[in-house]
Symmetry: C2
Subunit: 167 residues, 2 copies
């Protein structure tokens, strides 16, 4: 077992096990995949900690930011789901909660009666701005990576996302 | 807006917005963070698709593998949670479901009556082996990255995990 400072490196240990079982080759992909899962877990925890005092989850923060960046502060719910790659039911849930918090309002779509629009409120913009300031001062200012490593991460993951058709 | 092949690159677009708002500096960390979230979403979807035919979720697959790699095929539930960095309630839920599926059994700890052990069954080992073979032939064989990029990803995320005290 590989220990560093007393705590096991789960990725290195899984890789050692993979290779010991003769699964050489896929051990690289496995290590990349579980590294990603672990990093997301670490990072999401930090983001949630920062947005929580603003009454937000990170998922709801993303919806607010998408609206605040849109040209008129209004988007169809279906478009929000597409952009964030989130299931329609999750968008509906997040939007309902944000509406209950007074951070957006739902409106009928003027041209499509099956569609629903979400429009950010002034209070929604205020909360989006404040939580962004907190994220920019905290986890976004220091991800736990050198600038070079952060850029490398964006680039390598860009390759993965491109191959998955994410853009 | 940066479009590639018709589909928007959400990370590049968020970064453009960040910089347009004068949030230069944190835009790098933000891009790294949302890249990680997006990559995890893509990769987890693939893993779930592969383990589902075996009656597993990826979370339950991880529990099975941890048990199969342990010396005697048995671990305390608390240890499983620690190793996988999963909330005790989630471990309890996953273990209960795996027991109902006949893939492990729960046992009292011989030396600590507050602790519960999970012991993998022969059927559990069989399912762990089969689902691993499917993952090794699928998402672990091809993550959508060159070998070099996959190694780079493991290394950079290792830096992030180390700085977070993950090992």
């Amino acid at each position: 077992m590989q220990e560093t400072g007393g705590r096991l490196d789960l990725v290195a240990e899984a890789r050692r096990q993979w290779r010991a079982h003769g699964w050489v080759g896929p051990d690289r992909g496995m290590a990349a995949v579980i590294s990603l899962m672990r990093a997301q877990q670490i990072v999401l925890g930090r983001l949630e900690d920062v947005v929580k005092p603003f009454g937000l989850s990170y998922a709801r923060y993303e919806v607010l930011m998408l609206l605040s960046f849109s040209r008129r502060g209004v988007l169809p719910l279906a478009r929000i789901g597409e952009r964030l790659q989130v299931h329609p039911a999750s968008v509906t849930g997040a939007v309902a909660k944000l509406e209950a918090q007074g951070l957006l309002v739902r409106e009928p779509h003027p041209d499509d009666r099956r569609a629903v629009l979400a429009r950010i409120t002034d209070e929604g913009r205020r909360v989006a701005e404040q939580s962004t300031a907190a994220l920019n001062a905290g986890p976004f200012a220091d991800v736990g990576l050198s600038d070079e490593a952060a850029e490398q991460l964006v680039e390598v993951i860009g390759e993965l996302r491109r191959s998955a058709g994410d853009f």
